[in-house]
């Protein structure tokens, strides 16, 4: 930071408070205040008409209390949590790997690079509602492009004999979540890839030259130079990727509405329903805090574990 040694009168530096005031006001009114309010709301039963303090009942009903069916907790809560874990565990690692591979491809010296970069980047720009509609059509079981392609590809007696047919994608409880993952992979050329690309371009040639002298091949260079040097970026993309995946909403809302049989009822969708369709503001607030807690634990664990695999060039700095 280019700090100058000149010590200015205190009053000048206090102007800083004035300039950050818009954010301070916004922080209090739109973030900190609502956070407190949300915590309080989560202890109430509130349907927009009247609020009743219920203590930790919302949390109990979600997580551990016996429900009407004799099971533990709220079945839809657990279902949506499972769906979200499934989606996150599949889409984030696949997406990260895809983005990194793509960035490495686009980091080569080839002709027409700007064109390729544009082509790979464009899908990530498509608004979520529009891309959801696109993929509903591509994944349509009978006439969708993907299944027409699969049928053409596997148009053999073997397939018919084995009784195999292409999956019904969004209409199948087995394939609905993989469908959402598949669709998310269309966007691997987006922001994450560009961040990887910037990271790859920041690796000095001297590292690769040294590795060559040491007799490293292409894989050795990747394993011992590229990968260690971009671990901070992988870490950054991983943490933000999980936070993002956990909040996936629009695709599920538009494409399946949570179906079939709640197989794509993602956590954010369940929360939205509770709040804005069923007006269970207390329960929805409790859901929000459980989500927040899960993400905090995850982020904390990641930060702790990151010491083992993330290498910062030139040691830790602030």
């Amino acid at each position: 930071m280019g700090a100058s040694a000149v010590r200015r009168p205190m009053r000048w530096d206090n102007w800083g408070y004035v300039f950050i005031l818009p954010w301070l006001v916004g922080f209090v009114l739109l973030t900190a205040g609502p956070m407190v309010a949300s915590l309080v709301l989560s202890l109430t039963d509130y349907d927009l008409a009247q609020a009743r303090f219920v203590g930790i009942d919302n949390y109990a009903q979600l997580i551990w209390q016996r429900n009407a069916q004799g099971g533990i907790g709220d079945p839809l809560f657990y279902k949506s949590l499972w769906n979200t874990f499934y989606y996150t565990l599949l889409s984030v690692p696949l997406g990260l790997t895809g983005s990194l591979l793509l960035a490495m491809l686009l980091n080569q010296k080839v002709r027409g690079l700007p064109v390729f970069r544009t082509v790979y980047y464009l899908p990530s720009l498509v608004p979520a509602v529009a891309s959801s509609l696109l993929w509903i059509w591509i994944l349509q079981p009978e006439r969708g492009l993907l299944n027409q392609f699969l049928l053409w590809l596997f148009d053999t007696p073997v397939l018919a004999w084995a009784g195999l047919s292409p999956p019904a994608w969004l209409h199948s409880t087995t394939w609905s979540k993989p469908s959402l993952v598949l669709m998310s992979l269309w966007g691997i050329g987006g922001a994450r890839m560009i961040i990887f690309l910037a990271g790859l371009q920041g690796i000095g040639d001297q590292y690769y030259e040294a590795a060559t002298i040491d007799g490293a091949g292409a894989w050795g260079k990747f394993r011992h130079v590229t990968l260690p040097l971009i671990t901070p970026i992988i870490f950054f993309n991983l943490v933000l990727g999980v936070i993002g995946a956990f909040q996936t909403f629009t695709q599920a809302y538009i494409m399946t509405g949570g179906g079939p049989e709640n197989s794509t009822l993602l956590y954010a969708l369940y929360l939205y329903r509770c709040a804005f369709e069923w007006y269970q503001m207390g329960k929805a607030s409790a859901l929000a805090w459980v989500l927040f807690a899960i993400l905090l634990v995850f982020t904390y664990v990641q930060f702790n574990r990151s010491r083992m695999w993330v290498h910062y060039e030139g040691g830790a700095e602030d």
Partner: protein
Amino acid sequence: MKKILLYILLLSGAAVFMIPFVWTVSTALKTRQQVYATPPQWVPRTYRIQEAGRSIPVNVITRIDAPAAVVQLAGGPRAGQVIPVARDAIALRDNVALVKLRAPDPVPAQILRDMPAGLVQVRYEEGGQMLDRHVEPAELIAVTDPQWDNFRKAWVPVEKGGTLPQAFHVYVLNTYTITIICIIGQTLSCSLVAYGFARFRFRGRTTLFLLLLSTMMLPAQVTMIPVFLIWKNAGLVDTFAPLTIPAFLAHSAFFVFLLRQFFLTLPRELDEAAMIDGCGPLRIWWQILLPLSKPALTTVAVLSFIGHWDDFVGPLIYLNSPENYTVSLALRLFQDQNASEFNLLMAAALIHIGPVVLLFFLAQRYFVKGIATTGLKA
């Protein structure tokens, strides 16, 4: 050799990434029949046949792959029906044709006409009746006939033959209004806050800045409900206020961060020189830093445009009346009412996609620059 492999990878990957777009455009220009055609048509075509000197539009039903015949069933539960049957399924015994159907016993039938392989079954309307005919492929005249009208149908309101309560330009205008107000609000407020963090060493600065950065990790759901209740109690639900006012309160930690990083690269001597000339801190921001920060401000403006043009959850929560809808909400409504009209749906989706893609081509480098900053360290 390695280069060739690389090109093959890049090109095939690019093809896979582009196919959904091509397919969307292709679908948007099709008629309803073409949408459901097998095999899928990339370039939508319509077919005509010449009959008695007239050119008649026809729908191609199927292509006869193996020799077949049209027969009239003379027995069994479907007696009297006229159906096409594969030649293999017909056995002649004592001059009576026996047709093997799904029933266990062959059914007697009368052969009406033979259909050699290679014929195409077409259907067309004449005098209010649907007629079937089998024609030689050469008789079919292919016409490329893109249905530009689909875009008009998607655009116009219900009283002009569309399906939405308003014409699309109402939604486009709403979205632009929100987006432009937000761009102005965000560039102004975020750059002001960034200036505060970059140039003044007040007490608690580091803590506050970390607090600001940590809000990037906060899931929106945690504050969503109370913030909604605030706007509801203020009577501002179903107005643009909840969607635009936060933009003036630097409600985007990322933009503040991005602009602060940029301000840090500008030499402090500039401010100091201006200070000596008697400039106040506000004028330094407005007259020295902002003009020098055009690339960063453009990046913020571009990313802000994308964010608000795409936004779905915000409008979904706050806007109720169709006349206030944004494009993304309108598209959702359109989907509700045209669930299986994929040609119209794709045309409407393209209306949503168009402006973003256009902006990307106009301001490509600002996208990449802004995003690449995210990954770099503070």
